[in-house]
């Protein structure tokens, strides 16, 4: 393993400080990248990983500190500057142009020219050569948009190689890849590492970090916690460093969640044969007061579709919904809100937060909508509500005037949760509230959900992480291929049982 500390570093960042309005995003952070090494940057959401990367790639100007690349001090005014210095980045949401061909995306801005004009034949040949170096065999003339995210990511890496990069930054590259695709990506990463490229790897997946890294730098709340060789940093130590507290919190949940729920009375929400052609086959679902119902299923199984029908975000074409035994017309979210339901969408940025408004403004949006425009909320009342929820959910930074767009994903999710809780709903629908957020924020949100349900709030909880569903829900409705295939009592099934049910139930003897 190339963990030789004698190798001179390619990149040295010293005392990097960055401020945003209302947020000290980075506070004197150091980072050292060495050639032929995979270096992981770890931290919770909001720890400052993205900001540090953006400082290194010239997206954000630094307010303090120095960046040294191969021994010379640099100031990057733009991404182009950073790329010229040999630093390339591949982002989670692949930053390429879907309208152009694969070959063009690889070569864009570096096309070989003959007599002043682009030589397309040479461009595609060279693109193919760079792709082959990563064992990619694709038609360079096909449009980029026709390829999977995994392939697009490898195309982005090929592009970095055209630039002859000394440093390759991979920002959450694996979050939408399956296991085979991750293996393929890691093969390419190891290849590049062996060729002496310094790689900075950012991921939420601990397994992957331990699989690929030589060294780990941990950040917390915008400050450096430390740099460690992987061998010297066991997982529990890493997690403790990342969240700054013990993991007991999460463990204790499993006990609180499995309290009994009284299902003798009338269900709060009862759906009968609700469905929509091409979207979801008719399904039944009951939710009792104080109950957490989990929806389990793979992506695209109809989980989100079911709750959108219940909430009236999409129209059902068959079936009906009753609230407290009374038939309810649910053709618009308005109707659902009037019946004290709240729905937090999985699309946090698109259907959730208003990125340009402050934390406080985002939180009171829900209450204000409930009251109507004619009855504005008094300033003092607003401040009290906002302060209460920031405190209760642990929103960081605890600054009501911070712009939500500057917050990390986990904290944006807390703000959303606060918005809906402030409307005092009786039924809360949470679609993937913990996706892409770190352990600490996840624990906070899970705690809040189980605490509120114990006080009588009904919750429909959707998550791709089955463990989380098992931990939080008393009852689990399982969906597969746009159909509800059954319900399980979470006290009587473990993870293996749930996975087996999800994969095989109703299929007879599956091989």
């Amino acid at each position: 393993m190339p963990a030789d500390t004698e190798v001179p570093p390619v990149v040295q960042m010293r005392g990097i400080t960055i401020r945003f309005p209302g947020v000290l995003a980075l506070d004197h952070v150091d980072l050292t990248l060495r050639p032929g090494e995979v270096h992981s940057l770890m931290g919770e959401n909001g720890a400052g990983k993205s900001t540090l990367i953006k400082a290194l790639t010239g997206v954000y100007p630094v307010d303090g500190g120095t960046i040294t690349v191969t021994g010379t001090d640099r100031t990057f005014a733009s991404t182009a500057d950073a790329q010229a210095a040999g630093i390339s980045t591949v982002y989670q949401e692949v930053n390429l142009c879907p309208n152009l061909s694969v070959g063009e995306n690889v070569m864009l801005g570096h096309e070989p020219r003959r007599r002043g004009v682009i030589d397309w034949r040479a461009t595609h040949t060279e693109a193919a050569r760079h792709l082959e170096a990563l064992h990619l065999d694709i038609d360079t003339r096909s449009p980029l948009s026709r390829h999977s995210i995994a392939v697009q990511q490898l195309v982005a890496i090929s592009r970095a190689m055209v630039l002859d990069s000394k440093v390759l930054i991979l920002d959450e590259p694996t979050s939408s890849l399956d296991r085979d695709e991750v293996d393929q990506l890691f093969g390419v990463v190891r290849d590049l590492r062996d060729r002496g490229v310094a790689i900075l790897f950012v991921s939420h997946f601990l397994d992957q970090v331990y699989e690929i890294s030589d060294r780990i730098t941990v950040l917390r709340n915008g400050a450096l916690v430390g740099e460690h060789a992987v061998a010297d940093l066991p997982r529990d130590a890493l997690v403790t460093k990342m969240i700054g507290r013990e993991l007991h919190d999460l463990e204790s949940l499993s006990r609180t969640a499995h309290r009994a729920v009284d299902r003798s009375g009338e269900p709060l929400l009862s759906a009968r044969g609700i469905g929509r052609r091409g979207v979801l086959e008719p399904a039944d679902l009951d939710v009792y007061p104080g109950e957490v119902v989990g929806l389990a299923g793979l992506l695209g199984s109809g989980r989100t579709e079911l709750v959108r029908l219940l909430y009236g975000a999409d129209r059902a074409d068959v079936g009906h919904v009753s609230v407290r035994g009374e038939r309810a017309r649910m053709t618009s979210p308005r109707h659902a809100i009037d019946r004290r339901m709240a729905f937090s969408s999985e699309d946090r940025r698109g259907e959730g937060i208003v990125a340009d408004l402050t934390v406080a403004e985002n939180i009171v949006l829900g209450i204000q909508a409930q009251r109507g425009w004619a009855r504005p909320i008094r300033r003092s009342e607003r401040d009290a509500v906002v302060a209460e929820y920031i405190q209760a959910l642990g929103v960081r930074p605890a600054n009501p005037d911070a712009i939500v767009g500057n917050l990390s994903g986990g904290n944006q999710q807390k703000v959303l949760l606060a918005r809906w809780l402030a409307t005092a709903p009786e039924l809360l629908v949470l679609d993937e509230p913990t996706r892409g957020i770190d352990v600490g924020a996840k624990a906070d949100i899970q705690h809040k959900v189980s605490e509120l349900s114990a006080q009588g709030l009904s919750v429909i909880f959707i998550s791709s992480e089955l463990e989380e569903v098992l931990r939080l829900a008393q009852r689990i409705a399982v969906l597969r291929d746009r159909r509800k295939i059954g319900e399980l009592d979470s006290g009587q099934v473990d993870l293996d049982g749930l996975v087996d049910y999800l994969a095989n139930a109703g299929k007879g003897s599956a091989a």
């Binding site: 182009a80 982002y91 142009c97 801005g109 694709i138 449009p143 392939v151």
Partner: protein, 340 residues
Amino acid sequence: MSTTTTPEVRTRRSAPSYQGFIARHAATTPTYAAVLILLVLLAGAETFLPGNFLSPGNLSALLLDNAYLLVLAVGMTFVILTAGIDLSVGSVMAFTGVLGAQLLAQGTPAVVAVPAMLLAGGAIGLLIGVLVQYFHVQPFIASLGGLFLARGLAFVVSLQSIKVEEPTVLWLQQTRIRLDGWYITPTGIIALLAVAFAALVLHLTRFGRTVYAIGGNEGSARLMGLAVARTKVTAYVISGLCGGLAGLLLTAYSGAGYPRNGIGTELDAIAAVVIGGTLLTGGRGYVLGSLVGVLVFGTIKTIISFMGAEQSWMQIIIGGLLLLFIVVQRAIVARSERQR
């Protein structure tokens, strides 16, 4: 750590299916559709209208009558490909036209007056480009400002029509290079050269490819280290220059500069570009498509006047076509998004 053998990538090699064909040619489909519509229009006019519609004289006149619109559409294509819009071009054409006529009337030689017209157009384009890029003004608003500015300047130059007697400028229009019944004027040649030059720039230069990249995803283009700011501003300058060139062609065509020329012509140019298959969301389209769009536009106009019908039918038909094309474009975009 042992060295791993990287598995070969599974890729979707272009499957020889109808779906695959559509997906691969999604970018060109609207342009082919425009060509089809043009052919249907021409064939229909030949079949159903009395007299000989497809005569060489008629077809030659199509280019002559629409040369100025073609030049505007060329400039507009650059801007729309970056996902912008330029509403100023009709007014810029009027302003530069009347400015040129005034200069020529005062005895300024054409070698000075013509570059002055182009420069005036380019300057207004630069102003709009700077507003859009550095002051983050919506292209719609910035170019609307340009529209009012140029129109006002045109009236400052003159309130009346100014007749042009300068022989060089009139030569542009009056010279007919003939071949059998076909003919072409220098204005037509200039317009076609503009198309050819634009097509070369867009497809064979890094600047041109950056225009497409910006339209595809501006944020990505920036992160890829491309010269986004310079390219966007240049696109507006090109549109302004084309406005100035169109001013020259229109002045030659009508033999006069008139400050009320080209009211609403910017919308004709946008319509022609969209009918020619360029997506208003940017990143997809061809300048040759805009040529087809202008020809569709001109053919409909000729057919209406051939029939002696009300000119309002012209607008109704163009409106209908435009809506149809935008729906087709939406469908294509939606399909390619689903592909991912």
